[in-house]
């Protein structure tokens, strides 16, 4: 890790991404007091995580996609009860929180089941609850959706969004799944090889990318259309893909050209999937992406 500097305001939701080995988990571990930074300063909610570990632990919640904090041999409900005492949550508040979380994450059917008998998705929903029962001000999630089915993942993300909206909880999440981030986190930090290479809204990354694809369904199969301003055309049956740069030619102009030579049944303009853009950032850096866009 090399001179990574960023500040997150209370109530923000931030996605923290980067290729494997870039230092995502190391950052989370320094922010949660697990690792001592060899140099530099870390402050979370005004406290030094490593030195004031126990005091800070009461104010933050941590979910590790690859670590379990529930008691494996005990019913799920018992883990919550133990954590209530570990975090000294007053009983009425605990009951209110638990009721809310059971409802939002649909934990009811397996509250009495030993954790070792639960599915991965159920365990993860349990882990989320366990990390949030004490009303943490800041929540760190390290790959929380890894290996989850669509249903469990959707519930978990909706849950976090609701928590942020209703309680103003600050969220910092690392993930490989950028669709998660687009859905949840307005702000994205990208690190690569221990350095911060992007800090801004997800939309800004999209804007950096000028590549678009016009997909048209024609009335009848045609050979690839020759249209001015298009970089590449692909045709399969009645459908054709026309790759262009929106800063060189407008989608409207292209559609007019295509319609002039072949009747269009249906059309769509697609941007590059965010995964692809971010892969390109890892490969070429932000400058590479901007120059391609410029």
């Amino acid at each position: 890790m090399d001179a990574i500097t960023f500040t997150v305001q209370p109530g923000e939701m931030v996605g923290y991404i980067g290729p494997n080995g870039a230092g995502k988990s190391t950052t989370v571990k320094m922010l949660t007091g697990i690792l001592y930074p060899s140099s530099g300063t870390v402050r979370v909610a005004g406290q030094d995580p490593a030195r004031e570990r126990v005091a800070l632990a009461r104010r933050i919640g941590v979910v590790f996609g690859q670590r379990r904090q529930l008691w494996w041999d005990l019913p799920l409900r018992d883990s919550f009860d133990i954590l209530r005492h570990v975090y000294r949550v007053p009983l009425p508040r605990f009951q209110r929180n638990l009721a809310t979380f059971v409802d939002l994450l649909d934990l009811g059917p397996f509250l009495g089941t030993p954790v070792r008998q639960l599915s991965l998705g159920q365990v993860m929903r349990g882990e989320l609850t366990a990390a949030l029962l004490h009303d943490p001000e800041v929540v760190f999630l390290d790959e929380p959706t890894i290996g989850l089915d669509v249903e469990s993942k959707g519930r978990a993300l909706d849950f976090l969004a609701a928590l942020n909206r209703e309680r103003g909880t600050t969220v910092l999440m690392t993930t490989h799944d950028l669709a998660d981030l687009e859905r949840l986190c307005p702000r994205m930090l990208i690190i690569d090889q221990g350095r911060l290479i992007f800090d801004g809204p997800v939309a800004q990354i999209r804007e950096c990318d000028a590549e678009r694809t016009l997909v048209v369904d024609l009335e009848a199969p045609q050979p690839p259309l020759a249209v001015a301003g298009v970089e590449e055309v692909r045709a399969v049956g009645r459908r054709q893909w026309l790759r262009f740069r929106r800063n060189r030619v407008s989608a409207a102009a292209l559609i007019a050209q295509v319609a002039a030579v072949a009747p269009i049944v249906d059309l769509a303009v697609e941007g590059t999937p965010i995964e692809e853009i971010v892969r390109r950032i890892y490969r070429e850096g932000m400058d590479g992406l901007r120059s391609a866009a410029g």
Binding site: A50, F64, Q66, R68, L74, I82, H85, V86, R88, E143
Partner: protein, 268 residues
């Protein structure tokens, strides 16, 4: 206030006990086999004692007193601190990360993972030998002697436990299986069970001065028996036992904290 402060700790302990009885059959079998192993141990000691009426000038009940105190201390330590066995695994699988994000001391959380009541057999066995020895000793009992003997129930496990903790702490750096620590745990059990003057000079000095194992049983027993110290330490040395115990506890806590600071974590 004190009871409120202790509550998170008690609940972690309760969780560990409940997890143990979650596998009822396994728990019962382990308790039975531990009791059997203890009984075999007892037979071996009996055999040794019948062939060795005196050892380094000590009579059988005197050795029994030493062995009993050391054994009870070891047994209590094993119950309270035995969970350290799982510590290398906790480091390797990253479970230590989870302990670090809870508002409770990490050492306590490691120890509370397994409060091994099934190891009670060792305490019972050593306690029986202790009772037998006390009944056959020719000692004029006085309040200080009784107090000394009783205090070993606390100081012995504190010294043993601290040495075990320090011996295990190397795993923070090496991330190995912690086998090295066995030399201190089971080795310590062996060494404390004999009068230290049966050992070679260097080992004797090591036990008395460097690793304070001699304070687990040997020095307290010297006071009870009214014997002078063959190493030549002053006669008030046994009275230092509580201070030595407190000292190693403070030292072990400092060593553990240093280890936590050097924890690098594992995997992603």
């Amino acid at each position: 206030m004190a009871s409120t402060a202790a509550r998170p700790h008690l609940w972690l302990l309760r969780a560990s006990l409940r997890a143990q009885v979650a596998y009822r059959l396994s728990f019962a079998l382990l308790t039975v086999t531990a009791a059997l192993a203890t009984f075999m141990d007892f037979l071996v000691i009996g055999a040794i004692f019948t062939h060795l009426p005196r050892l380094a000038g000590w009579s059988l009940p005197e050795i029994g007193l030493l062995y009993g105190i050391a054994g009870v201390a070891f047994g209590i330590t094993d119950i309270c601190v035995g969970a350290l066995d799982a510590f290398p695994q906790i480091i390797r699988d990253g479970g230590f990360d989870v302990l670090l994000v809870r508002p409770v001391g990490t050492l306590y959380q490691v120890l509370a993972r397994e409060f091994a009541m099934r190891r009670f057999g060792k305490v019972a066995q050593a306690g029986a030998i202790l009772a037998y020895s006390i009944a056959h000793l020719h000692v004029t009992w006085s309040a200080p002697k009784v107090a000394m003997l009783a205090s070993t129930l606390v100081t012995g496990p504190l010294i043993f436990g601290s040495v075990w903790v320090m011996a295990m702490t190397h795993v923070f750096w090496t991330v190995d299986t912690g086998e090295v620590a066995n030399a201190f745990t089971y080795g310590g059990s062996f060494l404390t069970s004999y009068p230290i003057n049966v050992f070679a000079g260097w080992l004797r000095d090591l036990l008395a001065f460097v690793i304070p194992m001699a304070f687990v049983a040997y020095y307290p027993v010297l006071l009870v028996l009214g014997r002078p110290d063959p190493v030549g330490l002053p006669s008030f040395t046994p009275l230092l036992t509580p201070a030595v115990a407190a000292g190693v506890v403070v030292l072990a806590a400092a060593v553990w904290r240093t280890g936590v600071r050097h924890y690098r974590g594992t995997g992603s």
